[in-house]
Amino acid sequence: MDSLLAAIRAAAAEELSRGLPLLSLRQYPWGVGPYLFRDSAELGELRIEPLYPVGKALLSLVRARALPVAVVARPCEVRQLVEMAKRQQVQPADVRILTFSCDSAQAQVCRCEEPGTTSLGWPELVVIGEESAQPAAAAIALPEDPAERRRFWAAQFAKCIKCYGCRNVCPMCFCEHCELEDPLWVERGKLLPGLPMFHLIRAMHMSARCTACRQCEAACPAHIPLTALYDALRQEVGSLLGYRPGASLAQRPPLSLSLREAPMQTGRH
């Protein structure tokens, strides 16, 4: 871990010396959080955990046209950048990626099937350190019997307090108009009715975008195993349509790019 951090800091210093600001996590006096490094004297404070959604912070920078930028991203986050690029949120030429393989312990925590790095066709991507991780199984134990499983999910969804944290924390939820705020589907000021459109819509929208970073699940105050649902849908999309979110920059998404996902202005200014 220490040697990996040292290697990441060395690579980060190189980016800064080329004049690129670098988005990563920093040890502040009060704890760790996302930070845009500009001064190499601060790189001793660069951290890679706890895992914060770096892609989310990157979108803030993109919206402020703070480009080009370098970013330290874990494999699932690199795949998110790939999906963002396909959906006109970010232009690959604007973002230099420094990535590294997660370790086996982290893969276990994240139930991560793809903890290793791949190049994915991103124009400027630097791989740091060794490929060290053993993939973990994504699946959690769910009831086999369909009726029982339906009851399981109904009970899970009934716990939802509609904090919108799952959507807010998700780097792949960047729509200008979110369907979950449309009163047609999700009634305001009420908890979820029997047919949980909130959850079904989000699961549907994640089926070809989610890269299983598990941030939504970590943010859910109701401890709903949200990504078990997204994993299942993503597997369907994979086997039926041959699409894996984030696998390649060249592969077009199989479903419509989205219902109301307006293209953002990502040009340099």
Binding site: P34, C163, G165
Partner: protein
């Protein structure tokens, strides 16, 4: 070149006091994140915590005390507002006695602020009528 950093703070909405991170871009708030190192919230927030940052720069946020004169609310200084309030409260106390006054504290305040309001109620005004918004 832009500055982007986070600030750790406490959600102002309720007595649970979840920590959260404010995302600051060039001096402007642009978002919030749950604080993963906070044992109280365990890196989770409710709808209020997720949106607490939004009122900071909201155009309708009150930025100065307002005093109603006739039918208009007029901006006044804190000095003027506090003097007006003190005179009113003291007048009520003189006329109807301390039991005519109640103090209402808040879960949004710090312990120290709540201590101060009960002190003001008991030691200055002479009433034990002190309650708290969480009992509503």
């Amino acid at each position: 070149m832009l500055d982007f950093h986070c600030v750790r703070t406490v959600c102002p909405y309720c007595g649970a006091g979840c920590h959260l991170l404010l995302e600051v871009l060039d001096g402007k708030l642009v978002g919030t994140l749950p604080c993963k190192e906070d044992p109280v919230s365990d890196g989770k927030l409710c709808a209020k915590g997720w949106n607490a940052w939004r009122y900071v720069e909201h155009p309708e946020r009150l930025r100065t005390p307002l005093l109603r004169r006739g039918s208009v609310l007029e901006p006044v200084t804190w000095q003027e507002a506090l003097e007006f309030l003190a005179a009113k409260l003291w007048g009520i106390r003189e006329e109807h006695g301390p039991q005519a006054i109640g103090f209402f504290a808040s879960a949004k305040c710090t312990n120290e602020e709540n201590y101060l309001i009960q002190k003001l109620a008991r030691a200055v005004m002479g009433t034990n009528n002190v309650d708290h918004c969480a009992r509503l």
